[in-house]
């Protein structure tokens, strides 16, 4: 039996708390950007996801993601209801911490991922349909992809794809699912005709700051130990966020003024891009990864607006494109000097890794987009995706929740 290391266990438990905090932080990040009449609804879409997915994960999600592999596609049901997941470490998943600590840490990733998608459908989604969608999406998209990438014997893991903390599992799945869902759902009333002003940009700045802090647990905790790799991940994370925030500032300055909403968005995009790479690259590479992520997401956002698609809070541009860039960048910048358990990328003499990373990116994009598109079509047919036009005009705070944010 492996021995539990108390330092590792303490760090992973703290990291679990940090990643948990990211979902309410995301609630504020998104909540600030919608109109006043939808702020509670938007906060709640993230908040209730903590409730929904925490239960789904204990009951079913964890075993689908991390149970013994069935042909590399999905986990078996051995951990159903957290059966056999206790104080003893699981040597294959995390050898020096209780198995339950690993499962709880992973739970917070499963929670925040569907919460990220909510940015696509704020201000018009029917709440009842959202609840059903989130449970089905976690089960049909997140759990399988987590298994492919992180599960023992998962198809993409066997292929050699690297994803340190969830560039593909979290950000590509959320970003491209957001795109598919927004496409099926359609735009908000008056989108593109009347200005839809953010009700509280300070909320968004607060949320972004807490996300940045939480990301130290997201990426640093993914070392699953309190060691040199964890601090490498923490430093690359901070560095990439800093670089992306500053590049975004200059991009928005060139087009108008250095927008605060833009600067904090840039920071989040840098955090997204470094996520798959954090434990495989050096801090210097992290500067490049963050700096390149900013224009990719910036121009993806402009393209999305130009095409008239109401993917309202740009989940695709920030998380989908940022995550895809990060996964490919891992294939460029990864080095065994940082992580002997990883691989060398193109710039360290191994072009093969880039091919593997690109394969994983394409597979996950196609799967997440495809399944979400079908799921949204089915739910539109059987439940209806949108509130009525007049409910939308009144705002979801009143029409869906019977509350208002400010008296």
């Amino acid at each position: 039996m492996d021995a539990i290391n108390s330092g590792d266990t303490a760090w992973v438990m703290i990291a679990t708390a940090l990643v948990m905090m990211m979902t309410p932080a995301l609630a504020f990040f998104y909540g600030g950007m919608v109109r006043k009449k939808n702020v509670l609804s938007t906060l709640n879409l993230s908040f209730i996801t903590i409730g929904l997915i925490s239960l789904q994960w204990v009951l079913l999600g964890y075993t689908l993601a991390f149970g013994a592999s069935v042909d590399g596609l999905i986990g078996d049901l051995r951990f159903l209801g957290f059966a056999g997941v206790g104080a003893e470490p699981n040597a294959d998943l995390a050898a020096t911490i209780p198995h339950l600590a690993f499962a709880a840490y992973q739970m917070m990733f499963a929670v925040i991922t569907p919460a990220l998608i909510t940015g696509a459908f704020v201000e018009r989604i029917r709440f009842k349909t959202f609840l059903v969608f989130t449970l089905l999406w976690a089960t049909l998209v997140y759990d399988p992809v987590a298994h492919w990438v992180w599960g023992l014997g998962g198809a993409l893991r066997r292929l050699g794809a690297l994803d340190f903390a969830g560039g593909t599992v979290v950000h590509i799945t959320a970003g491209f699912s957001a795109l598919a869902f927004a496409w099926v759902l359609g735009h908000r009333k008056w989108f593109g005709k009347a200005a839809m002003e953010p009700n509280n940009i300070p909320f968004t700045v607060l949320g972004a700051g807490l996300l940045w802090m939480g990301w130290f647990g997201f990426n640093g905790g993914s070392a699953l130990a309190a060691n040199g790799l964890a601090i490498n991940a923490l430093v690359t994370t901070n560095t990439a966020a800093a670089a992306a925030a500053i590049v975004w500032m200059f991009l928005s300055w060139r087009d108008n003024k250095p927008s605060v909403l833009g600067i904090v968005t840039g920071a989040v995009v840098g955090l997204v891009a470094i996520t798959p790479a954090a434990g495989y690259v050096t801090p210097l590479s992290a500067i490049l990864i963050g700096a390149v992520a900013a224009p990719i997401s910036y121009y993806a956002m402009r393209l999305r607006l130009k095409r008239g698609l109401d993917e309202s809070l740009d989940v695709w541009a920030c998380h989908g494109m940022g995550g895809a860039w990060g996964a490919l960048a891992t294939g460029l910048f990864a080095t065994r000097l940082v992580n002997p358990a990883g691989a060398d990328g193109l710039f360290y003499g191994n072009p093969g890794l880039l091919v593997v990373q690109a394969t994983a990116v394409i597979a996950v994009i196609a799967f997440a987009f495809g399944v979400t598109f079908l799921l949204a079509r089915v739910l539109r047919r059987f439940m209806g995706l949108r509130v009525t036009s007049s409910e939308e005009e009144v705002g979801l705070d009143i029409s869906e929740h019977g509350e208002r944010a400010y008296a």
């Binding site: 200005a195 087009d255 108008n256 003024k257 927008s259 833009g262 968005t265 402009r302 607006l305 740009d314």
Partner: protein, 140 residues
């Protein structure tokens, strides 16, 4: 005859306008935050990327009730203090008022509008006293 001045001005001129009005002895007013636009149409604000247009702009509206012989001077004072020369400086409307009743005392019309240190006290040559009364009102 009692009049109502309704002045819609730039938010950032409010302090200057209030100070100028205090100086001539106008110490009572109501201030509203309003949104609207005239010929200016709107402005562009910085968003996440580039900019977006906002068509309803924030302004403040001052309502002042006063005797008609004080209207001209007050309007001149407001215009001088509110003007920047750029599009969007605002407008002033003047309306007749049927009647004014002060709730505490039941006084009506001109009596209801008069107080120590107001514009009429100053007109009657009691400037020094008026200035200090006006300062007290401000402190209160």
């Amino acid at each position: 005859m009692t009049k109502k001045i309704e002045a819609i001005i730039r938010e950032e001129r409010l302090t200057d306008v209030k100070e100028a009005l205090y100086r001539i002895g106008i110490v009572g007013m109501n201030v509203f935050e309003v949104h609207g636009h005239g010929r200016q149409g709107g402005i562009a604000l910085a968003g996440r990327t580039g900019s977006y247009r906002v068509d309803l702009l924030p302004r403040v509206q001052l309502n002042i009730i006063l005797s008609d012989h004080n209207v001209e001077k007050t309007v001149e004072t407001i215009c001088a203090a509110a003007r920047t020369g750029e599009v969007g400086d605002g407008v002033v409307f003047i309306y007749p008022v049927e009647e004014v009743i002060r709730i505490r005392s039941g006084e009506r019309d001109r009596a209801a509008l008069a107080y120590e240190g107001d514009i009429d006290t100053r007109r009657n040559g009691n400037g020094a006293h008026a200035a200090s009364a006006s300062a007290e009102t401000r402190a209160a």
